[in-house]
Symmetry: C2
Subunit: 111 residues, 2 copies
DNA sequence: ATAATTAATCGTAATTTTACGATATATAAA
DNA sequence: TTTATATATCGTAAAATTACGATTAATTAT
């Protein structure tokens, strides 16, 4: 048969999956959307609009930050969160290349 | 303050998150890529190229199928899996509108 | 100096995910 | 009919996720 095993450790594979996982929750997408709708860095207002405990929102923010999708700057007693443009760009690129791969003409359509 | 609570049950929000979650694992992305690289419907060859137990691969296939990203047709003793074009299109659309939302000009870039 | 405020972190419980081997089921081959 | 094959499902264990309230740490206000 001689089928080559797939390398599950491929950099872009792992990174794409991690980014997808990071936005794989309604609350986290909502946070990104909320941040995008502001031209000023908002901070803990996020907690006000998300109907969850402060600690839970903080956890979701951490996930987004660790995935590189948002940035957070401490400003006094508050923390200023905003979108991470670089992370979003990377995300968009990885996804568009994934989609173009999945849409390649040699992809069958038998079912 | 008068801040409007975010509706976390929004159809597209929930659906986008579910799709993202479905591809939020390297194995599942690898399966999609493998399926796209074939012009014939392959079946259990997936199990051969993924270095995981058959039952585990089957579970991942189920996740992808339930998310509407692949289709599976039983053909005799084998099962023929292939990409679900409609699901992928939907995915692409939801993601592109999410990205354009996140890239809107009024989105701040203060950090 | 003390009190109030913001937000992260801790501890915890409930649920979900991921992986495995074993088993069941259904078809095809002998 | 019996045997082999492919694949789904079951049972289970370990780990991760999600949510919460309580606490802590840091800063600002009194």
């Amino acid at each position: 048969m001689e089928t080559t095993r797939i390398n599950l450790q491929s950099k872009s594979l792992v990174r794409t999956a991690a980014l997808a996982k990071a936005i794989g929750h309604p609350v986290r997408i909502a946070i990104l959307q909320f941040l995008s709708g502001r031209d000023v860095c908002i901070c803990g207002d996020i907690t006000d609009v998300i109907p969850l405990a402060q600690s839970t929102v903080s956890q979701h923010l951490k996930v987004l930050k660790e995935a590189g999708l948002i940035k957070g700057d401490v400003e006094g007693v508050k923390t200023c969160y905003c979108l991470n443009r670089d992370g979003l760009r990377e995300f968009e690129q990885l996804f568009s290349s994934l989609f173009s791969e999945l849409n390649s003409p040699d992809s069958g359509n038998c079912c």
